[in-house]
């Protein structure tokens, strides 16, 4: 459905800080795939996601969606078919606007915005119903400013906002990394529930190998701007954290020692 072919991206070109962030990434995302993406810092996980989202143009390579080339499409235009949740919980909603106003903004994703009322009375019930599913009591606080919410509440709200207009593809960029373990667990559970019920095609970056193995039907590992492991279905379900680490260090050309397990 979404295909990346030979995507290459250098940042700070021509300066001493030049980095090769993506080095010929090929990835074929099939409809209904729930892909978890792991890899060390600077492996190119977030860069891959941002490339799909259109935050920058790749130096080389093409991106196609359902056969249509979208490599040159700007970010706002791709938003029509992409739902996103960022690592920073403050990034996904507007603090000075109320919960219902934020939801109404998300409700118009990919549609023309005109001069009719932003928050429509007839939509409130639906917003309330969507919020009641996350069980944080936000359904009774529609008029509260989002800035009053906690990080976990905002991230849960962003999760709802990203999926209230069904996205063709959902991009989750370490969206639980900034939360405490308990809240992260809640948000992850919510993620699983939403992706499952809407059968969403999803790309989720995570640092947590357990999460990467537990969720999704497919796992890719990245290293130095390349995809170095791509497993799915049956094969993925047989993998455990040790296998992943062993694979990771052997592909990096280092011997795997069990004390590295302590890092998990």
């Amino acid at each position: 459905m979404l295909t990346l072919t030979g995507i290459t991206k250098r940042f700070h070109k021509g300066s001493i800080n030049e980095v090769l962030a993506l080095d010929g990434v090929d990835l074929d995302i099939r409809r209904g795939d729930f892909i978890t993406v792991i890899g060390s810092n600077g492996a190119g996980k977030s860069t891959t996601l941002n490339c799909v989202a259109g935050c920058f143009m790749p130096d080389k390579g093409t991106i196609t969606l359902n056969g249509e080339t979208i490599t040159a499409w700007p970010e706002y235009k791709r938003a029509r078919f992409i739902g996103r949740v960022f690592q920073d919980p403050l990034m996904g909603s507007a603090a000075s606007l109320s919960i219902e106003e934020n939801m109404a903004l998300a409700d118009r994703r990919g549609k023309v915005r005109g001069l009719s009322a932003g928050v429509k009375t007839r939509d409130r019930e639906r917003y309330r119903e969507l919020l009641s599913r996350i069980g944080l009591g936000l359904e009774d606080r529609l008029k509260d400013k989002v800035g009053l919410l906690s990080g976990g509440q905002r991230q849960s709200l962003t999760m709802i906002m990203a999926t209230m207009v069904r996205p063709e593809i959902l991009l989750l960029d370490e969206h639980t990394a900034a939360l405490d373990p308990k809240t992260a667990g809640h948000v992850l559970e919510l993620t699983d529930k939403i992706v499952e019920s809407q059968k969403l095609t999803t790309l989720m970056v995570t640092h947590n190998m357990n999460h990467a193995l537990k969720l999704g039907n497919r796992l890719i590992m990245m290293h130095q701007g390349r995809v170095i492991l791509d497993i799915d279905g049956e094969k993925k379900s047989r993998f455990n954290v040790e296998d992943l680490l062993e694979r990771f260090f052997s592909l990096k050309g280092e011997a795997f020692s069990s004390d590295k397990m302590l890092l998990v």
Partner: protein
Amino acid sequence: MSFYAFIGALEQGFVFGLMVLGVYLTFRILDFPDLTVDGSLPLGAAVSSVCIGAGLDPYLSLIPATLAGFCAGAVTGLLNTRLKILHLLSSILTMIALYSINIRIMGRPNFTLLGKSTVLDPLAALGVPSWMAAPALFALVTVLAAITLIWFTRTELGQAMLATGDNPRMITALGVNTGNMIVLGVGLSNALVALCGALVAQNQGSADVNMGVGTIVAGLASVIIGETLLGQGRIAKMILAAVLGSVAYRLAIALALSLKVGSFSFAPSDLNLITAVVVVAALTAPKLKRKVAG
């Protein structure tokens, strides 16, 4: 302060309220410090005056004046979003260019409306006393503009504009072209400022290329005074606070001008200095208060 000075301050407060609404839109809603206003105020004045000079109805002359202001703001927006020039610099460039353009429009640095009809004439014909006509008309126009602006912030488009100022990454991810929002917002802001300039020119009987100097600072002072008086709150309240701030600012200026300490008194040319001091005081007062409180 004499009654005459008081009425004069009200009149100024209301007519410049339009400009303050424009400054509020860019400075607070879009988070875009826009100095174009120093040029778009005389632009509105020039266009309106020249139109009246050419025989156009004073009310109709407000339309081209407002449109000209929108275009000036849109240019600043385009310089910033398309050519990636820093917002402050974009607006300074437009402002500087407008100085030449305004003189071109008028054919000289100022344009007098002596003996020409103005927006106030129909009111005088109705028998409204002249000291009352201007404040009443300007109050009506500014309140209508404020209500329209409040309505706009509640529309789908207005909400997208609020989000553009608040969290551009988020609203881009929701499919809004923030560049277009900035062009539209800065355009609307300067349309209001140019309308203000047109009314000011008609009221004082002339347009002058230098009448816009210090507009941005007066606008900021008014916005901040309004916020200090009414406190933070929802957008609707803040927009009304901007209008109130404009009136309060002009009253404060009138008061300062009427002060006499011995043989010393302020001259109108001291206005910019007083305004700068007022802005600095208003900007630092909240911090000082917090420090003193502990």
